[in-house]
């Protein structure tokens, strides 16, 4: 048994391709050249899996599989032996989320201004929706891409689960190796997982046009698939549904783009009995408790935000502290998962530059991730998540021979991968590293001298020591070596030598300064003592705090409920006792306990209310803050299935801004671009809490309807969406409720339709309407439609011509929620008048003043006061329009809207008369928790300034340290607008959008 010399390995590698097959199954243009693919890797440190490391071990590989591994394994005679002394062998990494070998996704250039595409463009017996593509088996579309494979092998990967990440239901991924071979051989498993997302990708179809639409579509798809199992004749053959059902046994992977989408995906899974594996966004550390509660396993990216060029302070003031904090904290994400004991795999997916994979991984380790966990997350965990542990993920006999040979522990800074073996074939990565020249040599160049070579391959330092010391330039390509140094005789002349290294000596020829040739030999007397390479075990990097919510006004700990005793204030009770002077309010366990004079409670914190006014928290009947992913599902005229509840954004700074204006609860509505919009959500602004905790518990559900210019899309002449007139609007309504009634009559086994189920709730008085409406004709019409179907339109919102039909509204039993004084910006508000609220109220309608505007919401008390000015309304009645009246119309007046014992402690302490322009909220209290405090806010501002400055200085240091930077750009959250055409966004960016060259709008 002759030991195979490493020198020949490079040659071997070149011949290995297609060497595995015992029997050739395809024609070859040569004589047969069968190979056994039998190798023994000896004397290596074999890291079998993250938990098992074998010293001086042997790994036997045959026919692309691992045959044996251990410390006392007999070396087969017919195996090629590869000496791996000092080297480390690891199972090659497994990427559970890759698009290797797939075509790039073509982005859809969907525009809501373009003509509608109501149905899928995909030809064939598939889903009606172009983004539902469960039928796609990505193994069929896989093509080996050696250039990409090489990139990934370089990083240590041997197998990836791959698909084209396109659409909402994306089909099945395949496990492929990164071998250079025919696809037939490279695909290790045809189907590894079924994939999902909220993004419609290349779909050119309109629906869904929002995140909440994506959620609804996924839910409906589950129901449809269930129904399809009964082979309904109405559906015929639907391969999308069929394959969705077939794929149910596979791991289900859901890819998300932000942390809250994790919870959204998981919630859908919970509803339909599926535990998704989440492909995360990298922000999960910001809500690690919520992540843990999903019980999901995660696939985490290692893409970290780039350093920003922070040199211009006037630009940087527009970059959120949240963005800076994420830059700092993103590398802590994997460590946060480890600490929380959540199962996770790591992926190279999402890296702009794949070469940043190992540096970023090392960074994650530096930020607290253990090496063992890192390795597990790249080997056993992804294999287990994909159900392919029998194939990959460790170095156990029988598994695919995917492993790499490294010069040291793989995560150590100085380590490098020498070769990556995939399916039993070796691929050079840095084969120079096989040859370590370092050591002391005896060399004879006319006279004896010492040649000392120090350092690592690629960065040697060499010198020639005789009577004096001469620096030597050394270059190496595998075993070939060139030396160059100054001639002793004439320093300006160089001696140049060429030689070959055989493992213990270098010998060859060279040319002296004179031009004469000389033979030479350098014999290594002593190999360099290699410092054993270690991973840096520095203290974890010091970083800032995660704050809740994750923005400039978040805090390390969320504000807590207190017992409070507000004393000596003017208390606007909204109850029979009216306005109480010099009165006290006692709050315990989130409830108002007592209102009166001279109250005492030792458990309560005293709040001096002298000179202040206390009112119930302001309730905004019509708002669009705190929601994300689009407030409108515009794509169809009836979208009752979509729910604002699915898209609550607890990080929205506008929630805090609302609190600064005394708003404690807001009704978050779908927009108004279609007749039957989406289900709404009443929130309580429990600042810092997650979406579920922000929701107003146990309230009657509502839905948004809309009439008039927006729903008929008056501004858009090219869109064919029905209806185009108010005549058509009335028919959309009539048709929808007729369909719902007919649906109700259908027997068991019917297809559950989320849209019709929702409409039925309205008919059955379990869900209530708030309807965007302006002119008297349309108001009258919807009341008649409701009368015909036997339900009441709960609320007419905007209702700027309500004063014209207030008597009819009263007779019907509708509430009114309106603006104080908006008018004339479009045709249907020409007759809007600031006395509208007062007239409706005088006629006997319950009236609220709403905002529909994140800025104005902060002044709703003053908006209400305009009815005093324009129509002489009483002060108490005016205040009720933004407190008790909206509570009534939202069916929550039993809990909020007035100051009475037993009610929720949602209170505002005002600096001045609450209807005055000079009034400021000094404290805003929700459920007995002070969620906004004007004095604390000043401190928060100061802390924000300090934190931001710290991060900016850190970025400067990062840039000076050589980190690449990107130019700064303002972080902007688009204001959600109710309407598509009437843009009352008062943000700076919207106002100056047209001042940007080449672009009309910052966002569509």
């Amino acid at each position: 048994m002759k030991k195979f010399s490493f020198r020949s390995l490079g040659v071997l590698l070149a011949f290995l391709v297609h060497g595995l097959q015992a029997q050739v199954t395809f024609p070859i243009n040569d004589v047969a050249n069968p190979r056994a693919g039998y190798y023994a890797f000896v004397h290596a440190t074999v890291v079998k899996d993250a938990k098992t490391t074998l010293q001086n071990a042997t790994l036997i590989v045959k026919q692309g599989r691992i045959e044996a591994v251990g410390t006392s394994v007999a070396i087969p005679k017919d195996a090629v032996v590869i000496e791996c002394k000092g080297k480390f062998i690891y199972p090659s990494f497994v990427d559970a989320f890759s698009d290797y070998g797939m075509e790039a996704v073509t982005a859809s250039n969907y525009s809501y201004r373009a003509p509608s595409q109501m149905l899928s463009n995909t030809k064939g017996p598939f889903s009606w929706n172009q983004a539902l593509k469960s039928e796609v088996e990505h193994a069929k579309h896989f093509a080996v891409n050696e250039a990409k494979a090489k990139e990934l092998r370089k990083l240590g990967f041997g197998a990836v689960s791959t698909l084209q990440p396109d659409g909402i239901s994306r089909g099945t991924s395949a496990l492929v190796s990164l071998a250079k071979d025919r696809e037939n051989m490279v695909i290790l498993k045809e189907k590894t997982a079924a994939h999902f997302s909220f993004e419609k990708g290349s779909s050119t179809q309109d629906y869904p046009g929002s995140l909440m639409g994506s959620v609804a579509l996924l839910r409906q798809n589950f129901l449809d698939a269930q129904w399809y199992k009964s082979k309904p004749a109405q559906e015929g053959l639907n391969l999308s549904l069929d394959r969705f059902n077939q794929n149910a046994g596979l791991p289900q992977i859901f890819a998300v783009t932000d942390k809250w989408n994790v919870l959204r995906a998981d919630k859908i899974g919970d509803e339909f009995g599926v535990q998704y594996i989440i492909k995360g966004s990298g922000e999960e550390y910001q809500r690690i408790d919520e992540m843990k509660a999903t019980k999901a396993a995660f696939i985490l990216p290692l893409a970290f935000p780039q350093t920003i060029d922070v040199e211009d302070p006037t630009d940087m003031r527009f970059v959120n502290v949240a963005e800076l904090k994420h830059w700092e904290l993103a590398p802590t994400n994997p460590a946060a998962f480890e600490k929380a004991n959540i199962s996770f795999a790591l992926t190279a997916n999402g890296l702009k530059d794949v070469n940043s994979f190992m540096p970023n991984l090392r960074k994650a380790i530096q930020y607290g991730l253990s090496e063992q966990k890192a390795l597990e997350a790249l080997t056993a965990t992804p294999a287990q998540l994909l159900g392919v542990s029998d194939l990959v993920g460790s170095l156990d006999p029988g598994k695919v021979a995917n492993f790499f040979i490294a010069s040291g522990p793989v995560f150590a800074e100085k380590s490098a991968i020498i070769e990556n073996w995939v399916q039993g074939n070796g691929y050079a990565v840095q084969s120079d590293l096989w040859t370590n020249l370092a050591g002391t040599y005896q060399i004879n160049l006319g006279s004896p001298a010492k040649l000392v070579i120090q350092g690592e391959p690629g960065s040697y330092k060499a010198s020639l020591i005789a009577s004096d010391t001469t620096q030597v330039d050394l270059t190496q390509k595998e075993q070939l070596v060139n030396l160059g140094y100054a001639s002793k005789a004439d320093k300006s002349q160089r001696v140049r030598l060429t030689g070959s290294f055989d493992g213990s000596s270098i010998s060859g020829t060279g040319q002296l300064a004179s031009g004469n040739w000389i033979s030479w030999k350098a014999v290594r007397s002593e190999a360099a003592k290699s410092d054993s390479i270690q991973v840096k075990t520095n203290k974890p990097e010091a970083v800032g705090d995660v704050v809740y919510p994750f923005n400039g006004f978040g805090q390390k700990t969320i504000a807590k409920q207190e017992n409070l005793l507000i004393q000596h204030a003017t208390v606007w009770t909204n109850e029979k006792q009216g306005v109480l002077k010099d009165a006290d309010v006692l709050v315990k366990a989130g409830k108002i306990v007592q209102v009166g004079k001279g109250l005492k409670d030792p458990s309560a914190r005293i709040v001096d209310g002298t000179g202040k006014h206390v009112t119930a928290g302001i309730i905004d009947e019509h708002s669009h803050v705190g929601a994300t992913g689009g407030i409108n599902e515009c794509t169809q005229s009836v979208t009752a299935e979509v729910r604002i509840a699915d898209v609550i954004d607890p990080d929205d700074v506008d929630i805090y801004r609302q609190l600064s204006g005394g708003v404690t609860a807001s009704h978050i509505l779908h927009g108004s671009c279609n007749v039957i919009g989406g289900q709404t959500q009443l929130l309580k602004f429990r600042w810092g809490q997650n979406a579920e905790a922000l929701k107003f518990a146990n309230w009657d559900p509502f839905i948004k309807f809309a009439l008039g210019e927006n729903v008929k899309r008056s501004w858009n002449t090219s869109n064919p969406r029905f209806p185009d007139t108010r005549m058509g609007v009335e028919q959309v309504l009539t048709d929808a409720f007729t369909r719902a009634r007919d649906y109700e009559k259908q027997g068991p086994g019917k297809r559950i339709d989320l849209e019709l189920e929702t409409l039925l709730e309205i008919l059955n008085k379990k869900r209530f309407i708030t309807c965007h409406s302006y002119v008297q004709s349309e108001i009258n019409s919807i009341l008649k439609v409701a009368d015909k179907f036997g339900f009441t339109v709960n609320t007419l919102t905007h209702i700027l011509e309500g004063y014209k039909v207030a008597d009819k509204m009263k007779a019907h039993g509708a509430n009114a929620s309106t603006f104080a004084d908006w008018w004339n910006y479009k045709m249907e508000v020409l007759d809007a008048i600031p006395q509208n609220a007062a007239i409706m109220q005088a006629v006997g309608v319950n009236v609220a003043i709403n905002s529909d505007d994140a800025e104005m919401a902060r002044r709703l008390n003053q908006e209400a006061a305009k009815s005093i000015k324009y129509a002489g309304m009483s002060e108490e009645d005016a205040l009720k329009m933004v407190t008790l009246n909206p509570a009534k119309m939202l069916h929550v007046a039993d809990r909020v809207g007035s100051i009475a014992p037993g009610k929720d402690a949602d209170l505002v302490i005002w600096s001045d008369h609450p209807l005055s322009i000079y009034a400021k909220s000094e404290k805003t209290i929700v459920d007995g928790t002070v969620v906004f405090d004007r004095a604390e806010d000043v401190k928060l501002q100061e802390a924000l300034k300090v934190e931001k400055q710290r991060l900016i200085q850190k970025m400067i240091a990062s840039k000076k340290g050589g980190a690449p930077t990107r130019p700064s750009a303002p972080s902007v959250k688009k204001q959600n607008m109710c309407e598509e055409d009437h843009n009352h966004d008062k943000s700076l960016w919207e106002r100056i959008a047209s001042r940007f060259i080449d672009e009309d709008h910052i966002n569509e």
């Binding site: 630009d315 014209k804 000079y918």
Partner: protein, 431 residues
Amino acid sequence: MKKLLIPIFCFLGLSLMAQETMHPSPAQAKKIVITGATLHIGNGQVISNGTVSIDKGKLTILSTAPAISAEVEHIDATGKHIYPGVIAPNTNLGLVEVSSTKSTVDFDELGEMNPNIRSIVAYNTDSKVINTLRTNGVLLAQIVPQGGLISGSSTVVQLDAWNWEDAAYALDNGVHMTFPALINRPNGGGGRRGGDSDAVKAGLERIETARVFFREAKAYLNEKSHAAVNLKFEATKGLFDRSKSLYVHCDLVKEMLTAIDFAKEFNFKLVIAGGTDSWMIADILAANQVAVILHEPHALPAAEDDAVDQPYKTGAQLQKAGVLFTICQDSGDGYTQIRNLPFLAGTMAAYGLTREEALSAITLNPAKILGIADRTGSLENGKDANIVICQGDLLDMKSSVVTHAFIQGRAVDLNNKHTQLYNRYKYKYNL
């Protein structure tokens, strides 16, 4: 019987004052004396129980009430407040009726260099919006064109006129520029769209074209006669002799610094309109005597990390630094909201200004900035009688009810489309 009469009376009243029959008032005939009111002079001064006399459209402030004769119209304003008429700078009032309906939009002209475009020629004195402003005490407005880099010339109008010639109060006395944004485009809506191109460089290059324009205009104006008349250059004349101001519409620090340099090169009188971030360079603005027409304070903070009340307190910060400033309603459908200008001032008073400073910010300050302070903006002898009598605090909607308004001594009809529709439906519901 009584019940029956009231509706009939209302109905008659209604038909008499339908908007189409409302008309500007004739010139002041009789001398008017208003007594007993608290006078808010507009310069910070307050006189309680003061007397205002109006003769031939001009004001006199009297220390003691004169004898009231039959030739004099006497208004007892005991318990009420008198203010200078509010001035609304930087509006497109009368240039647009319904902003979503393009055929009614007349403020945004095509072209890059349009100093020759004059807003006044398109100003519609019959816009339904105008009367609603007077009802809240807004009596004068600056009518501003938009579009291009040099947008055109503005005129100050009084709000009680038959036609634009009647309305003109200070004709063509401002030239407006809209600076490009000197900041990278924001990252909007999830996708990274900003930071890819150098927006600052592109913006500066565009501004440079305006410098070239004005350099050429200056040279052109040095010579009186020309073979070919350049209307655009001719329209810039007043800028060079400082009879007109240059209004640069911009908001961010780099834009304002650039505007200051721009104005210096040509020795223009500079006013910044917008000025969202003016509080950051208030000292520089004060040192350069640059006035600011502040974007409406009822706005969300420009930056997410800004104090939640930053736009409310910007005025106080400018005041403290000694910057001459006023406020406007310039966003989106701002023209329909100009009647809220006094309440915007009220908000600034809640956030750092005194109430009288806040009043100045919408009366005397805009008069100074618009170059009409010699005629209006305060209750001072000899000025035009552009005044408002209010039952309560003009700046606070809780008590503000304007009972009288005078423009150049003419008693203004305080009805408007809204009061008329209100009456119509009070009739319907018997309220």
